[in-house]
Symmetry: C2
Subunit: 387 residues, 2 copies
């Protein structure tokens, strides 16, 4: 186990009707709020009206930044910063999924940055502080509600980059599983894949002796697998939505990664797909993952895949090791497919001609990952197999 | 899954040489420290000298409260409060295990309480604030380093009671597994039993649908079982000590209990043993646990015991349910015994004549637990079987 520092300051308010605690928690930071949200689903399902009523009843003034897109754009961030400066905002409330939250976080940090906000995306060391962030989560996926990271897209430069700073961690997050009852099938599937990918990125690691982290990772994988299927079959199954929601937060708040070398190469590969083609992040991850696994499987990594196959998929430990590993990878592929996710990049509009450019972009900071380091050629190879 | 609020503000600094971060973390709160420690093991193993050197090099002034006993006494708390008031202490640094940390916490809260500090032990609602607490952990057991609770003993009234307040959660805790290399066998065994008991108290619950919490609990149980044995066999095995240490903290910081109804009846029963006989907490828990399990097993609780047997002990799920449950309980008993822990209360000096009085005390606030509610007669029955 490696040394680590662990700190998760976000207060989680989990369950039905926790929105009732919104006003009192906001008021710890002030009464002028920037409300950040996405494409309008919160207006259709009533969450928007509930929040506006709470604001009115509690003398909370609010300004709005709506229309935040999946793969949130730096343009939205700039718009948000402008409002925060003009209105002297006390707290930024993101209502939505990871894109909305990530946008709010970079608005918060951008508020304190004197230069172009894209600078704090390309170099997180330039972040000094953030306005207080809070969230009302409506999608179980990115885990952004309980960590200090954010991913922002620059359409002009075709870049999608991660950044982060402790000050960007939400002060509090309201997680009401009923808010995800109306999430469309495709987003439930993509969210489940995203959760699983976050776990894979830290589970598949060369670090020895991180037993407790590995067992917890398997617990969360089993939960996502079990309830991803259930949530698709019964969108209003509270147990399924609650388990997915809490698992999404725990998957990427440091609990599984602390003490381990981590990978993040599938995410880096996927970010290029989203930057070039604006596809749904979780879909890209689900397509790439089994191909990455096949590519990463070798004599050095075999034991980890066996651990995965036996502990997550319940494959008989007495079988041949490569057989176990390959079966585990096949089960992963079949699982994503069972959620209705395509298995090929070509099915989501990715074209052969851009693969090389994307592979180059994905590795511009150097090789990806540690468990199985990937050069530009490796990435291109995986893209081609996945095409 | 039940509604919950989750907040773990303690910053964890985990691994070898993390003591190097002590001074800078203290200085966020001031430079006048009350150093709280126990019977002197930190003087024998050098941790005390290291800390005193760090204080000297960083202009940190310190006062000392040494000699804090296992099952820490309200008398020590009072002594600590006096020093804090007289010296205008900025931060209380507990160096030791749970007893030392618990004592520090109640000193911190007692500092702000105008009445007798025993009042804030018997009624936590009277706690308003606490001086900042920090810890350097030297024993993997109670998890007090990462939560807001404390247990204090009053020898005069023969009471051992739990209390707590968010302000009592340590600001930071230094967890260096090498500091536990010199923990004696008995304490390693008792610590492992304590960790497992904390998990049992929240795992055995009637709450339905808390799947992710249950799978995480099983992960932590498997870790404790695996590495308790290893740490006894090889006291300087870093992997074993690291896994035990981090598991101890995660077992009782809200991660496993959030969203569930919890039990805590074995702890309540054990507290009377410690209050009357001053025995080691983890030993008392290990003796009582299998008897509690046998007493709690019935048609209503059977499925939970089957889950435990199959998922933690790997018992064949196709066997008869009662057979699985009984085997799991027997394996639990055998495991504690394999750690060198006695299996009978009489072996640690408990006498038949006080059982009734202890059963009465244990249930003076009403029945214990929810999974299997225990009346005074039930508690007496379990004590008698365990005698």
């Amino acid at each position: 186990m490696l040394n680590f520092n662990y700190s998760v300051p976000t207060k989680i308010l989990f369950g039905k009707h926790k929105i009732d605690l919104l006003a009192e928690n906001i008021k710890e930071y002030g009464s002028k709020v920037l409300l950040v949200y996405g494409g309008g689903s919160i207006k259709r399902n009533g969450i928007y009206d509930t929040i506006i009523d709470i604001f009115a009843e509690n003398n909370i003034s609010s300004w709005e930044l709506g229309g935040v897109k999946p793969n949130p754009r730096i343009a939205s961030v700039k718009e948000g910063i402008k409002i925060c400066k003009k209105q002297e905002i006390d707290l930024i409330l993101a209502v939505g999924g990871g894109s909305t939250i990530d946008c709010a976080k970079v608005i918060g940090a951008g508020f304190y940055h004197s230069g172009d906000p894209w600078e704090i995306v390309t170099d997180s060391r330039k972040i000094e502080d953030s306005l207080p962030i809070a969230t009302v989560l409506t999608l179980a996926a990115t885990g952004s509600e309980m960590n200090a990271g954010a991913v922002i897209t620059n359409l002009e430069t075709q870049e999608k980059l991660g950044t982060g700073h402790p000050s960007m961690a939400p002060k509090f997050s309201i997680l009401d599983p009923t808010y995800t009852f109306t999430v469309p099938e495709k987003q439930t599937a993509a969210g489940t894949a995203d959760i699983m990918s976050h776990i894979f990125e830290v589970y598949f690691s060369k670090t020895k002796g991180a037993y407790v982290q590995n067992r917890m990772a398997e617990s969360l994988l089993k939960t996502a697998i079990n309830y991803g299927t259930k949530a698709l079959a019964e969108p209003e199954n509270y147990e399924a939505r609650a388990n997915l929601m809490w698992t999404a937060s725990l998957a990427i708040n440091g609990l599984l990664s602390s003490g381990k070398e981590t990978e993040w190469s599938v995410h880096a590969m996927e970010h290029e797909l989203s930057a070039f083609y604006d596809i749904t992040h979780g879909i890209g991850l689900a397509i790439l993952t089994p191909y990455w696994m096949e590519y990463a499987l070798n004599d050095n990594t075999l034991d980890k895949f066996v651990e995965y196959g036996v502990n997550v998929w319940g494959i008989d430990a007495d079988k041949d090791k490569y057989k176990i590993a390959q079966t585990a990878i096949e089960k992963t592929r079949e699982y994503f497919s069972s959620l209705g996710i395509p298995t090929k990049l070509s099915e989501v509009g990715i074209e052969a001609e851009k693969l090389e450019k994307m592979a180059e972009q994905a590795t511009r900071r150097g090789e990806l990952g540690n468990f199985k380091p990937l050069s530009k050629e490796d990435v291109l190879n995986i893209y081609q197999k996945a095409l």
